[in-house]
Symmetry: C2
Subunit: 194 residues, 2 copies
DNA sequence: TATTTTTACTTGACTGGTCAATCAACAAAA
DNA sequence: TTTTGTTGATTGACCAGTCAAGTAAAAATA
């Protein structure tokens, strides 16, 4: 039943289905048919709206990225002290919305995709840079610039590492202790700086 | 020119070719033909020796794992104090042999593979457990058990995270500074404990 | 209001290409 | 002559992408 304005709805439905399917399978080896089927449309429609599979994957990745971005600005808005800013960034990355299995799996899959797709790599770099600057905005007032830089690198690596371990259902299974681990690092680092 | 004892040689050549090809491409989306071609044999031979592609991938992963294992025991043999043991484990993971692009890419690809292959997941878990126990052997004499446990988790996550960043050619490009980052964590942690 | 036309949306059926896996046959050593 | 090693040719499955045809809402026309 063709109604106007379906385009936006369909695109969203297909992207959501893509996230779900990729998350479930844990990789990008997913057919357009599967994704379309889950979105309740024909495979041809997915091609109609996205052209090629690669484009759909790009759009899906962008969705993940913007979702995380929105969560971030919301969390940072509530933070007042620098230390709170750091904690806010950490908290978002391990929030119930972001640290879910499917999302984590999808991220991991996209990290691999970035190896062959320069565009994907660019997108991931946007994320990395944003994370870094968010962290720096909290860390710089708390320690020497060089030290802050190192800490930001370490926190980012810690987050990525904990995501992987989450994906493997290995080690820390629950978000709370993962976040606590990173917080513990920050505390230790601040203690050492003082 | 068929000579006896080819089996072992061919298997090794094919596995090496697999590591190289996977590392180059950055994912497991690699054909048997490519791997076989690089090893200088026909695709049929690869199937002859490994049966299915999945088996070849398993064998390749196992190879990576045992290589890392050997490097580890060698490095640990030279360490005498607990602190040295910790440093040895860190150093191995960022050594010239292990922190190479192709190897890092291959690891990342296998992390994704583990999502769908329970056997791969088991293999990775072996690695994770070995890393953990190696770290613990150095950390336990230096701090309270619970604290050591946390530190081991954090170090492992840091290593994984830095591997990812290496794979994305993002952030720390050189092994030395990556290792230094982890060492810095250990130092901070020990400082806080004292 | 009734009819036609246009527009937006949707699909089934098909195609071309890729690739894992198989197999029968061949070559050289034992 | 058997054993071990090796390959070219083929098969069967899967899948991204295309296309012509279809449906119904909306807009234009009578």
């Amino acid at each position: 039943m063709p109604r106007i304005g379906m385009k936006k709805l369909r695109r969203k439905a297909i992207i959501d289905a893509a996230i779900l399917t990729i998350g479930e399978r844990g990789s990008l080896e997913v057919t357009m048919s599967e994704i379309a089927g889950r979105a309740g449309v024909s495979p041809a429609l997915a091609h109609h709206y996205f052209g090629a599979k690669e484009e759909l994957l790009q759009a899906t990745m962008r969705q993940l990225l913007t979702d995380l971005g929105h969560d971030c600005v919301r969390a940072l808005a509530a933070a007042v002290t620098p230390r709170e800013r750091v904690s806010a960034v950490i908290a978002v990355n391990f929030s119930a919305a972001q640290f879910r299995q499917e999302i984590v799996h999808a991220w991991l899959a996209f990290y691999v995709q970035a190896q062959k797709s320069p565009l994907s790599r660019r997108l991931l770099r946007v994320y990395a840079r944003r994370l870094h600057s968010n962290l720096m905005s909290g860390l710089v007032p708390l320690m020497a610039r060089a030290e802050a830089e190192r800490s930001a690198e370490a926190i980012a690596a810690l987050i990525d590492g904990l995501y992987i371990r989450r994906a493997l259902r290995d080690g820390l299974p629950n978000p709370a202790s993962a976040a606590a681990l990173v917080e513990d690092y920050v505390t230790a680092k601040l203690g050492a700086a003082a």
